[in-house]
Symmetry: none
Subunit: 125 residues, 4 copies
Amino acid sequence: MQLDESQPLWRQLVADFSHCIVSGTWAPGSKIPSVRDLAMHASVNPNTVQRALSELDRTGLTTTQRTAGRFVTTDNAVIDAARNDLATQATDAYLTSMRRLGLNHQHAVDILDARWRALTNEGED
Amino acid sequence: MQLDESQPLWRQLVADFSHCIVSGTWAPGSKIPSVRDLAMHASVNPNTVQRALSELDRTGLTTTQRTAGRFVTTDNAVIDAARNDLATQATDAYLTSMRRLGLNHQHAVDILDARWRALTNEGED
Amino acid sequence: MQLDESQPLWRQLVADFSHCIVSGTWAPGSKIPSVRDLAMHASVNPNTVQRALSELDRTGLTTTQRTAGRFVTTDNAVIDAARNDLATQATDAYLTSMRRLGLNHQHAVDILDARWRALTNEGED
Amino acid sequence: MQLDESQPLWRQLVADFSHCIVSGTWAPGSKIPSVRDLAMHASVNPNTVQRALSELDRTGLTTTQRTAGRFVTTDNAVIDAARNDLATQATDAYLTSMRRLGLNHQHAVDILDARWRALTNEGED
DNA sequence: GTGGTCTAGACCACT
DNA sequence: GTGGTCTAGACCACC
Protein backbone atom coordinates (compact mmCIF):
# COMPACT_ATOMS: atom_id res chain seq x y z
CA MET A 1 0.00 0.00 0.00
CA GLN A 2 2.19 2.82 1.28
CA LEU A 3 5.90 2.32 0.98
CA ASP A 4 6.67 3.90 4.35
CA GLU A 5 5.11 1.45 6.81
CA SER A 6 4.42 3.90 9.62
CA GLN A 7 7.39 3.95 12.06
CA PRO A 8 11.16 3.91 11.58
CA LEU A 9 12.63 0.52 12.24
CA TRP A 10 14.37 1.39 15.51
CA ARG A 11 11.14 2.76 16.99
CA GLN A 12 9.41 -0.52 16.18
CA LEU A 13 12.22 -2.30 17.96
CA VAL A 14 11.82 -0.05 20.99
CA ALA A 15 8.17 -1.00 21.14
CA ASP A 16 8.96 -4.70 20.66
CA PHE A 17 11.63 -4.77 23.34
CA SER A 18 9.44 -2.77 25.70
CA HIS A 19 6.75 -5.38 25.17
CA CYS A 20 9.15 -8.12 26.13
CA ILE A 21 9.96 -6.34 29.39
CA VAL A 22 6.46 -5.17 30.25
CA SER A 23 4.96 -8.60 29.59
CA GLY A 24 7.63 -10.27 31.72
CA THR A 25 9.12 -12.22 28.83
CA TRP A 26 12.30 -10.49 29.85
CA ALA A 27 12.09 -10.69 33.66
CA PRO A 28 13.17 -7.77 35.88
CA GLY A 29 16.87 -8.00 36.65
CA SER A 30 17.52 -10.56 33.92
CA LYS A 31 20.18 -10.24 31.25
CA ILE A 32 18.80 -9.51 27.80
CA PRO A 33 20.13 -11.10 24.59
CA SER A 34 23.19 -9.59 22.94
CA VAL A 35 22.89 -6.92 20.29
CA ARG A 36 24.23 -9.35 17.74
CA ASP A 37 21.64 -12.04 18.60
CA LEU A 38 18.76 -9.59 18.60
CA ALA A 39 19.86 -8.16 15.27
CA MET A 40 20.16 -11.59 13.72
CA HIS A 41 16.78 -12.69 15.05
CA ALA A 42 15.05 -9.55 13.80
CA SER A 43 16.97 -9.57 10.52
CA VAL A 44 18.09 -5.98 10.95
CA ASN A 45 21.40 -4.20 11.21
CA PRO A 46 23.06 -4.37 14.68
CA ASN A 47 23.36 -0.59 14.65
CA THR A 48 19.58 -0.34 14.50
CA VAL A 49 19.24 -2.63 17.50
CA GLN A 50 21.90 -0.60 19.30
CA ARG A 51 19.95 2.59 18.81
CA ALA A 52 16.78 0.99 20.15
CA LEU A 53 18.55 -0.36 23.21
CA SER A 54 20.12 3.02 23.90
CA GLU A 55 16.62 4.40 24.01
CA LEU A 56 15.64 1.71 26.52
CA ASP A 57 18.63 2.70 28.62
CA ARG A 58 17.60 6.35 28.42
CA THR A 59 14.11 5.58 29.73
CA GLY A 60 15.55 3.43 32.47
CA LEU A 61 13.96 0.20 31.31
CA THR A 62 17.42 -1.31 30.96
CA THR A 63 20.85 -0.59 32.41
CA THR A 64 24.16 -1.40 30.82
CA GLN A 65 27.03 -2.80 32.83
CA ARG A 66 30.21 -2.32 30.85
CA THR A 67 31.47 -5.86 30.95
CA ALA A 68 28.55 -7.98 32.05
CA GLY A 69 25.99 -6.95 29.44
CA ARG A 70 22.62 -5.23 29.55
CA PHE A 71 19.97 -5.95 32.21
CA VAL A 72 16.28 -5.27 32.70
CA THR A 73 15.56 -2.76 35.46
CA THR A 74 14.28 -4.01 38.82
CA ASP A 75 12.38 -0.79 39.37
CA ASN A 76 8.72 -1.74 38.95
CA ALA A 77 7.66 1.89 38.73
CA VAL A 78 9.63 2.31 35.51
CA ILE A 79 8.14 -0.85 34.06
CA ASP A 80 4.65 0.26 35.02
CA ALA A 81 5.24 3.59 33.35
CA ALA A 82 6.34 1.86 30.18
CA ARG A 83 3.27 -0.34 30.34
CA ASN A 84 1.05 2.70 30.61
CA ASP A 85 2.83 4.29 27.70
CA LEU A 86 2.30 1.27 25.46
CA ALA A 87 -1.30 0.94 26.62
CA THR A 88 -1.92 4.58 25.82
CA GLN A 89 -0.51 4.19 22.34
CA ALA A 90 -2.67 1.13 21.69
CA THR A 91 -5.74 2.87 23.07
CA ASP A 92 -5.22 5.98 20.98
CA ALA A 93 -4.84 3.88 17.87
CA TYR A 94 -7.98 1.98 18.79
CA LEU A 95 -10.02 5.09 19.41
CA THR A 96 -8.84 6.59 16.14
CA SER A 97 -9.87 3.51 14.19
CA MET A 98 -13.27 3.46 15.88
CA ARG A 99 -13.80 7.12 15.05
CA ARG A 100 -12.98 6.41 11.44
CA LEU A 101 -15.79 3.86 11.51
CA GLY A 102 -18.13 6.60 12.72
CA LEU A 103 -18.35 5.16 16.23
CA ASN A 104 -17.99 7.16 19.43
CA HIS A 105 -16.65 6.45 22.89
CA GLN A 106 -19.83 4.80 24.12
CA HIS A 107 -19.92 2.47 21.09
CA ALA A 108 -16.33 1.55 21.82
CA VAL A 109 -17.05 0.68 25.44
CA ASP A 110 -20.12 -1.32 24.48
CA ILE A 111 -18.28 -3.37 21.87
CA LEU A 112 -15.36 -3.75 24.24
CA ASP A 113 -17.64 -5.25 26.87
CA ALA A 114 -19.30 -7.55 24.36
CA ARG A 115 -16.02 -8.81 22.93
CA TRP A 116 -14.50 -9.28 26.35
CA ARG A 117 -17.39 -11.49 27.37
CA ALA A 118 -17.22 -13.33 24.05
CA LEU A 119 -13.47 -13.93 24.22
CA THR A 120 -13.37 -15.08 27.86
CA ASN A 121 -15.56 -18.13 28.11
CA GLU A 122 -14.69 -18.58 31.78
CA GLY A 123 -14.42 -15.20 33.51
CA GLU A 124 -11.13 -14.96 35.38
CA ASP A 125 -11.39 -11.18 35.48
CA MET B 1 10.45 -9.75 15.12
CA GLN B 2 8.12 -12.17 13.35
CA LEU B 3 8.46 -12.19 9.61
CA ASP B 4 4.95 -13.01 8.44
CA GLU B 5 1.99 -12.48 10.66
CA SER B 6 0.51 -9.92 8.28
CA GLN B 7 -2.62 -10.48 6.25
CA PRO B 8 -2.38 -11.12 2.50
CA LEU B 9 -2.63 -8.04 0.35
CA TRP B 10 -6.09 -8.77 -0.95
CA ARG B 11 -7.47 -9.10 2.59
CA GLN B 12 -6.01 -5.74 3.50
CA LEU B 13 -7.69 -4.32 0.42
CA VAL B 14 -11.02 -5.83 1.49
CA ALA B 15 -10.62 -4.04 4.82
CA ASP B 16 -9.58 -0.78 3.16
CA PHE B 17 -12.47 -0.81 0.70
CA SER B 18 -14.91 -1.76 3.45
CA HIS B 19 -13.67 1.23 5.41
CA CYS B 20 -14.34 3.50 2.45
CA ILE B 21 -17.93 2.28 2.30
CA VAL B 22 -18.59 2.15 6.03
CA SER B 23 -17.19 5.62 6.58
CA GLY B 24 -19.28 7.00 3.72
CA THR B 25 -16.27 7.96 1.63
CA TRP B 26 -17.92 5.79 -0.98
CA ALA B 27 -21.55 6.76 -0.60
CA PRO B 28 -24.37 4.18 -0.81
CA GLY B 29 -25.44 3.70 -4.41
CA SER B 30 -22.43 5.50 -5.82
CA LYS B 31 -20.08 4.09 -8.42
CA ILE B 32 -16.72 3.09 -7.03
CA PRO B 33 -13.44 3.61 -8.93
CA SER B 34 -12.59 1.06 -11.62
CA VAL B 35 -10.50 -1.99 -10.87
CA ARG B 36 -7.63 -0.52 -12.84
CA ASP B 37 -7.76 2.86 -11.11
CA LEU B 38 -7.83 1.31 -7.66
CA ALA B 39 -4.95 -0.96 -8.59
CA MET B 40 -2.88 1.91 -9.88
CA HIS B 41 -3.62 4.04 -6.83
CA ALA B 42 -2.73 1.22 -4.45
CA SER B 43 0.27 0.17 -6.53
CA VAL B 44 -0.90 -3.41 -6.78
CA ASN B 45 -1.88 -5.69 -9.62
CA PRO B 46 -5.44 -5.27 -10.94
CA ASN B 47 -6.04 -8.96 -10.27
CA THR B 48 -5.40 -8.42 -6.58
CA VAL B 49 -7.93 -5.60 -6.48
CA GLN B 50 -10.32 -7.79 -8.45
CA ARG B 51 -10.06 -10.51 -5.87
CA ALA B 52 -10.78 -8.10 -3.05
CA LEU B 53 -13.76 -6.57 -4.84
CA SER B 54 -15.17 -10.02 -5.59
CA GLU B 55 -15.21 -10.53 -1.85
CA LEU B 56 -17.12 -7.29 -1.37
CA ASP B 57 -19.62 -8.46 -3.96
CA ARG B 58 -19.96 -11.73 -2.12
CA THR B 59 -20.77 -10.00 1.14
CA GLY B 60 -23.24 -7.73 -0.61
CA LEU B 61 -21.38 -4.50 0.11
CA THR B 62 -21.13 -3.91 -3.63
CA THR B 63 -22.92 -5.05 -6.74
CA THR B 64 -21.44 -5.09 -10.20
CA GLN B 65 -23.14 -4.26 -13.44
CA ARG B 66 -21.10 -6.04 -16.04
CA THR B 67 -20.18 -3.13 -18.23
CA ALA B 68 -21.23 -0.09 -16.27
CA GLY B 69 -19.02 -0.57 -13.23
CA ARG B 70 -19.35 -1.49 -9.59
CA PHE B 71 -21.70 0.21 -7.14
CA VAL B 72 -22.02 0.48 -3.38
CA THR B 73 -25.11 -1.19 -1.99
CA THR B 74 -28.00 0.97 -0.86
CA ASP B 75 -28.91 -1.55 1.84
CA ASN B 76 -27.91 0.11 5.09
CA ALA B 77 -28.27 -3.15 6.99
CA VAL B 78 -25.40 -4.63 5.02
CA ILE B 79 -23.26 -1.57 5.63
CA ASP B 80 -24.08 -1.64 9.34
CA ALA B 81 -23.12 -5.30 9.48
CA ALA B 82 -19.80 -4.50 7.85
CA ARG B 83 -19.23 -1.68 10.30
CA ASN B 84 -19.84 -4.05 13.21
CA ASP B 85 -17.48 -6.53 11.66
CA LEU B 86 -14.67 -4.03 11.30
CA ALA B 87 -15.30 -2.71 14.82
CA THR B 88 -15.16 -6.22 16.20
CA GLN B 89 -11.88 -6.90 14.46
CA ALA B 90 -10.36 -3.68 15.77
CA THR B 91 -11.64 -4.39 19.26
CA ASP B 92 -10.30 -7.93 19.31
CA ALA B 93 -6.90 -6.71 18.18
CA TYR B 94 -6.99 -4.04 20.88
CA LEU B 95 -7.95 -6.46 23.61
CA THR B 96 -5.25 -8.87 22.51
CA SER B 97 -2.61 -6.17 22.64
CA MET B 98 -3.79 -5.06 26.06
CA ARG B 99 -3.69 -8.63 27.30
CA ARG B 100 -0.14 -8.96 26.07
CA LEU B 101 0.66 -5.98 28.27
CA GLY B 102 -0.79 -7.85 31.21
CA LEU B 103 -3.87 -5.63 31.42
CA ASN B 104 -7.45 -6.81 31.80
CA HIS B 105 -10.84 -5.56 30.68
CA GLN B 106 -11.24 -3.03 33.49
CA HIS B 107 -7.83 -1.56 32.80
CA ALA B 108 -8.79 -1.25 29.16
CA VAL B 109 -12.03 0.58 29.98
CA ASP B 110 -10.25 2.89 32.41
CA ILE B 111 -7.55 3.86 29.94
CA LEU B 112 -10.17 4.18 27.22
CA ASP B 113 -12.10 6.68 29.33
CA ALA B 114 -8.96 8.59 30.23
CA ARG B 115 -7.75 8.83 26.63
CA TRP B 116 -11.20 9.77 25.39
CA ARG B 117 -11.32 12.72 27.75
CA ALA B 118 -7.78 13.66 26.82
CA LEU B 119 -8.39 13.45 23.09
CA THR B 120 -11.66 15.42 23.06
CA ASN B 121 -10.73 18.96 23.84
CA GLU B 122 -14.26 20.29 23.87
CA GLY B 123 -16.42 20.16 27.04
CA GLU B 124 -16.18 18.73 30.50
CA ASP B 125 -12.51 18.02 31.12
CA MET C 1 -11.36 -29.87 -20.01
CA GLN C 2 -11.47 -32.31 -22.86
CA LEU C 3 -10.40 -31.02 -26.21
CA ASP C 4 -13.15 -32.82 -28.11
CA GLU C 5 -16.28 -31.11 -26.83
CA SER C 6 -18.65 -34.04 -27.26
CA GLN C 7 -20.26 -33.84 -30.72
CA PRO C 8 -18.96 -32.91 -34.15
CA LEU C 9 -19.91 -29.42 -35.16
CA TRP C 10 -22.43 -30.38 -37.80
CA ARG C 11 -24.34 -32.57 -35.34
CA GLN C 12 -24.61 -29.65 -32.97
CA LEU C 13 -25.97 -27.59 -35.82
CA VAL C 14 -28.53 -30.29 -36.62
CA ALA C 15 -29.70 -30.12 -33.02
CA ASP C 16 -29.77 -26.32 -33.06
CA PHE C 17 -31.71 -26.10 -36.29
CA SER C 18 -34.11 -28.81 -35.14
CA HIS C 19 -34.72 -26.76 -32.02
CA CYS C 20 -35.58 -23.76 -34.12
CA ILE C 21 -38.16 -25.76 -36.03
CA VAL C 22 -39.59 -27.73 -33.12
CA SER C 23 -39.96 -24.62 -30.98
CA GLY C 24 -41.66 -22.78 -33.80
CA THR C 25 -38.94 -20.18 -34.15
CA TRP C 26 -38.85 -21.35 -37.73
CA ALA C 27 -42.56 -21.75 -38.47
CA PRO C 28 -43.90 -24.69 -40.55
CA GLY C 29 -43.78 -23.80 -44.22
CA SER C 30 -41.52 -20.79 -43.72
CA LYS C 31 -38.30 -20.18 -45.58
CA ILE C 32 -35.20 -20.67 -43.50
CA PRO C 33 -32.13 -18.41 -43.67
CA SER C 34 -29.56 -19.01 -46.38
CA VAL C 35 -26.59 -21.29 -45.84
CA ARG C 36 -24.32 -18.31 -46.01
CA ASP C 37 -26.26 -16.34 -43.38
CA LEU C 38 -26.44 -19.30 -41.04
CA ALA C 39 -22.75 -19.97 -41.43
CA MET C 40 -21.84 -16.38 -40.76
CA HIS C 41 -24.12 -16.17 -37.74
CA ALA C 42 -22.75 -19.38 -36.28
CA SER C 43 -19.18 -18.52 -37.23
CA VAL C 44 -18.64 -21.84 -38.98
CA ASN C 45 -17.77 -22.91 -42.48
CA PRO C 46 -20.71 -22.90 -44.92
CA ASN C 47 -19.90 -26.51 -45.80
CA THR C 48 -20.61 -27.49 -42.21
CA VAL C 49 -23.97 -25.78 -42.31
CA GLN C 50 -24.68 -27.45 -45.63
CA ARG C 51 -24.05 -30.86 -44.16
CA ALA C 52 -26.36 -30.15 -41.23
CA LEU C 53 -29.13 -28.91 -43.51
CA SER C 54 -28.79 -31.97 -45.73
CA GLU C 55 -29.45 -34.03 -42.63
CA LEU C 56 -32.59 -31.99 -41.95
CA ASP C 57 -33.72 -32.64 -45.51
CA ARG C 58 -33.06 -36.35 -45.04
CA THR C 59 -35.27 -36.51 -41.94
CA GLY C 60 -37.96 -34.52 -43.70
CA LEU C 61 -37.85 -31.53 -41.38
CA THR C 62 -36.98 -29.35 -44.34
CA THR C 63 -37.42 -29.53 -48.07
CA THR C 64 -35.29 -27.86 -50.68
CA GLN C 65 -36.80 -26.23 -53.72
CA ARG C 66 -34.08 -25.76 -56.30
CA THR C 67 -34.51 -22.06 -56.94
CA ALA C 68 -36.67 -20.75 -54.12
CA GLY C 69 -34.61 -21.95 -51.18
CA ARG C 70 -35.19 -24.29 -48.26
CA PHE C 71 -38.48 -24.52 -46.36
CA VAL C 72 -39.67 -25.99 -43.07
CA THR C 73 -42.01 -28.94 -43.52
CA THR C 74 -45.71 -28.47 -42.98
CA ASP C 75 -46.08 -32.06 -41.81
CA ASN C 76 -46.67 -31.82 -38.08
CA ALA C 77 -46.05 -35.52 -37.60
CA VAL C 78 -42.45 -35.08 -38.71
CA ILE C 79 -42.02 -32.11 -36.39
CA ASP C 80 -43.54 -34.04 -33.51
CA ALA C 81 -41.18 -36.92 -34.17
CA ALA C 82 -38.23 -34.56 -34.08
CA ARG C 83 -39.51 -33.07 -30.88
CA ASN C 84 -39.74 -36.52 -29.32
CA ASP C 85 -36.23 -37.26 -30.48
CA LEU C 86 -34.76 -34.15 -28.92
CA ALA C 87 -36.78 -34.72 -25.77
CA THR C 88 -35.47 -38.27 -25.54
CA GLN C 89 -31.89 -37.10 -25.90
CA ALA C 90 -32.34 -34.48 -23.20
CA THR C 91 -34.04 -36.97 -20.90
CA ASP C 92 -31.36 -39.59 -21.33
CA ALA C 93 -28.68 -37.05 -20.56
CA TYR C 94 -30.63 -35.93 -17.51
CA LEU C 95 -31.13 -39.46 -16.21
CA THR C 96 -27.45 -40.21 -16.72
CA SER C 97 -26.42 -37.16 -14.76
CA MET C 98 -28.80 -38.01 -11.95
CA ARG C 99 -27.46 -41.54 -11.78
CA ARG C 100 -23.95 -40.18 -11.52
CA LEU C 101 -25.13 -38.26 -8.46
CA GLY C 102 -26.32 -41.53 -6.97
CA LEU C 103 -29.99 -40.67 -7.44
CA ASN C 104 -32.60 -42.99 -8.93
CA HIS C 105 -35.72 -42.54 -11.00
CA GLN C 106 -37.94 -41.72 -8.03
CA HIS C 107 -35.50 -39.06 -6.82
CA ALA C 108 -35.52 -37.56 -10.28
CA VAL C 109 -39.31 -37.38 -10.41
CA ASP C 110 -39.46 -35.90 -6.92
CA ILE C 111 -36.94 -33.18 -7.68
CA LEU C 112 -38.59 -32.58 -11.03
CA ASP C 113 -41.90 -31.93 -9.29
CA ALA C 114 -40.29 -29.69 -6.69
CA ARG C 115 -38.41 -27.61 -9.25
CA TRP C 116 -41.42 -27.34 -11.53
CA ARG C 117 -43.46 -25.89 -8.70
CA ALA C 118 -40.58 -23.61 -7.75
CA LEU C 119 -40.03 -22.32 -11.27
CA THR C 120 -43.67 -21.68 -12.14
CA ASN C 121 -45.00 -19.17 -9.67
CA GLU C 122 -48.35 -19.06 -11.41
CA GLY C 123 -49.32 -22.50 -12.69
CA GLU C 124 -50.29 -22.33 -16.37
CA ASP C 125 -49.78 -26.10 -16.72
CA MET D 1 -25.57 -20.31 -32.48
CA GLN D 2 -24.73 -18.21 -29.39
CA LEU D 3 -21.03 -17.80 -28.84
CA ASP D 4 -20.79 -17.58 -25.07
CA GLU D 5 -23.45 -19.04 -22.88
CA SER D 6 -21.02 -21.49 -21.28
CA GLN D 7 -19.82 -21.26 -17.72
CA PRO D 8 -16.31 -20.04 -16.92
CA LEU D 9 -13.73 -22.78 -16.62
CA TRP D 10 -13.37 -22.51 -12.86
CA ARG D 11 -17.12 -22.95 -12.36
CA GLN D 12 -17.05 -26.09 -14.47
CA LEU D 13 -14.22 -27.33 -12.28
CA VAL D 14 -16.26 -26.61 -9.17
CA ALA D 15 -19.03 -28.74 -10.61
CA ASP D 16 -16.61 -31.50 -11.65
CA PHE D 17 -14.90 -31.66 -8.28
CA SER D 18 -18.23 -31.56 -6.48
CA HIS D 19 -19.29 -34.51 -8.60
CA CYS D 20 -16.21 -36.41 -7.53
CA ILE D 21 -17.09 -35.87 -3.88
CA VAL D 22 -20.82 -36.38 -4.17
CA SER D 23 -20.39 -39.59 -6.15
CA GLY D 24 -17.88 -40.90 -3.65
CA THR D 25 -15.02 -41.01 -6.15
CA TRP D 26 -13.29 -38.82 -3.59
CA ALA D 27 -14.27 -40.50 -0.33
CA PRO D 28 -15.17 -38.47 2.77
CA GLY D 29 -12.05 -37.69 4.77
CA SER D 30 -9.70 -38.67 1.97
CA LYS D 31 -6.94 -36.51 0.57
CA ILE D 32 -7.71 -35.11 -2.86
CA PRO D 33 -5.08 -34.72 -5.59
CA SER D 34 -2.79 -31.72 -5.40
CA VAL D 35 -3.61 -28.48 -7.15
CA ARG D 36 -0.80 -29.08 -9.61
CA ASP D 37 -1.87 -32.64 -10.40
CA LEU D 38 -5.47 -31.65 -10.98
CA ALA D 39 -4.37 -28.79 -13.17
CA MET D 40 -2.15 -31.03 -15.24
CA HIS D 41 -4.85 -33.66 -15.58
CA ALA D 42 -7.43 -31.10 -16.63
CA SER D 43 -4.97 -29.23 -18.84
CA VAL D 44 -5.66 -25.95 -17.17
CA ASN D 45 -3.58 -23.50 -15.21
CA PRO D 46 -3.02 -24.34 -11.52
CA ASN D 47 -4.47 -20.97 -10.58
CA THR D 48 -7.76 -21.89 -12.19
CA VAL D 49 -7.91 -25.11 -10.18
CA GLN D 50 -6.95 -23.16 -7.09
CA ARG D 51 -9.85 -20.81 -7.58
CA ALA D 52 -12.27 -23.70 -7.93
CA LEU D 53 -10.93 -25.49 -4.86
CA SER D 54 -11.14 -22.29 -2.82
CA GLU D 55 -14.82 -22.32 -3.64
CA LEU D 56 -15.12 -25.90 -2.41
CA ASP D 57 -13.40 -24.86 0.81
CA ARG D 58 -15.83 -21.98 1.16
CA THR D 59 -18.82 -24.27 0.87
CA GLY D 60 -17.29 -26.68 3.35
CA LEU D 61 -16.97 -29.58 0.93
CA THR D 62 -13.23 -29.61 1.52
CA THR D 63 -10.85 -28.37 4.18
CA THR D 64 -7.21 -27.57 3.60
CA GLN D 65 -4.34 -28.23 5.93
CA ARG D 66 -1.68 -25.77 4.91
CA THR D 67 1.12 -28.12 4.18
CA ALA D 68 -0.48 -31.55 4.23
CA GLY D 69 -2.95 -31.08 1.39
CA ARG D 70 -6.68 -30.78 0.95
CA PHE D 71 -9.24 -33.21 2.35
CA VAL D 72 -12.86 -34.08 1.69
CA THR D 73 -15.21 -33.20 4.54
CA THR D 74 -16.53 -36.01 6.73
CA ASP D 75 -19.76 -34.10 7.29
CA ASN D 76 -22.35 -35.99 5.28
CA ALA D 77 -24.84 -33.15 5.63
CA VAL D 78 -22.59 -30.91 3.58
CA ILE D 79 -22.16 -33.58 0.94
CA ASP D 80 -25.89 -34.19 0.79
CA ALA D 81 -26.48 -30.48 0.40
CA ALA D 82 -24.02 -30.40 -2.49
CA ARG D 83 -25.76 -33.38 -4.09
CA ASN D 84 -29.09 -31.60 -3.87
CA ASP D 85 -27.54 -28.52 -5.36
CA LEU D 86 -26.12 -30.38 -8.34
CA ALA D 87 -29.38 -32.27 -8.81
CA THR D 88 -31.31 -29.02 -8.76
CA GLN D 89 -29.03 -27.49 -11.36
CA ALA D 90 -29.35 -30.49 -13.62
CA THR D 91 -33.11 -30.54 -13.18
CA ASP D 92 -33.49 -26.85 -13.93
CA ALA D 93 -31.41 -27.21 -17.06
CA TYR D 94 -33.53 -30.20 -18.09
CA LEU D 95 -36.81 -28.42 -17.48
CA THR D 96 -35.57 -25.40 -19.41
CA SER D 97 -34.61 -27.51 -22.39
CA MET D 98 -37.94 -29.31 -22.31
CA ARG D 99 -39.75 -26.00 -22.16
CA ARG D 100 -37.83 -24.79 -25.18
CA LEU D 101 -39.18 -27.84 -26.98
CA GLY D 102 -42.69 -26.73 -26.07
CA LEU D 103 -43.16 -29.53 -23.54
CA ASN D 104 -44.56 -29.11 -20.05
CA HIS D 105 -44.01 -30.80 -16.73
CA GLN D 106 -46.34 -33.73 -17.43
CA HIS D 107 -44.63 -34.43 -20.75
CA ALA D 108 -41.32 -34.43 -18.93
CA VAL D 109 -42.50 -36.94 -16.33
CA ASP D 110 -44.01 -39.16 -19.02
CA ILE D 111 -40.85 -39.23 -21.11
CA LEU D 112 -38.81 -39.67 -17.97
CA ASP D 113 -40.79 -42.76 -17.04
CA ALA D 114 -40.55 -44.15 -20.56
CA ARG D 115 -36.82 -43.63 -20.82
CA TRP D 116 -36.23 -45.01 -17.35
CA ARG D 117 -37.96 -48.23 -18.33
CA ALA D 118 -36.07 -48.33 -21.61
CA LEU D 119 -32.68 -47.73 -20.01
CA THR D 120 -33.05 -50.24 -17.18
CA ASN D 121 -32.94 -53.62 -18.80
CA GLU D 122 -33.39 -55.59 -15.65
CA GLY D 123 -36.89 -56.43 -14.30
CA GLU D 124 -40.45 -55.47 -15.19
CA ASP D 125 -40.21 -54.16 -18.73
C1' DG E 1 6.41 -31.62 -1.86
C1' DT E 2 1.97 -28.83 -0.13
C1' DG E 3 -1.30 -24.75 -0.55
C1' DG E 4 -1.41 -19.60 -0.97
C1' DT E 5 -0.34 -15.17 -2.87
C1' DC E 6 1.01 -11.87 -6.31
C1' DT E 7 2.38 -10.11 -10.83
C1' DA E 8 2.23 -9.22 -15.72
C1' DG E 9 -0.12 -9.52 -19.52
C1' DA E 10 -3.50 -11.33 -22.52
C1' DC E 11 -8.31 -11.91 -24.36
C1' DC E 12 -13.37 -11.58 -24.16
C1' DA E 13 -18.17 -9.56 -24.06
C1' DC E 14 -20.65 -5.71 -23.56
C1' DT E 15 -21.83 -0.54 -24.43
C1' DG F 1 -13.81 1.99 -21.26
C1' DT F 2 -15.98 -1.68 -17.93
C1' DG F 3 -15.60 -6.17 -15.28
C1' DG F 4 -14.33 -11.12 -15.80
C1' DT F 5 -11.46 -14.96 -17.00
C1' DC F 6 -7.26 -17.40 -17.93
C1' DT F 7 -2.32 -18.24 -18.36
C1' DA F 8 2.50 -18.40 -17.16
C1' DG F 9 5.59 -17.98 -13.90
C1' DA F 10 7.36 -16.44 -9.65
C1' DC F 11 7.95 -16.48 -4.51
C1' DC F 12 6.67 -17.74 0.26
C1' DA F 13 5.86 -20.62 4.58
C1' DC F 14 5.49 -24.97 6.23
C1' DC F 15 6.98 -29.92 6.88
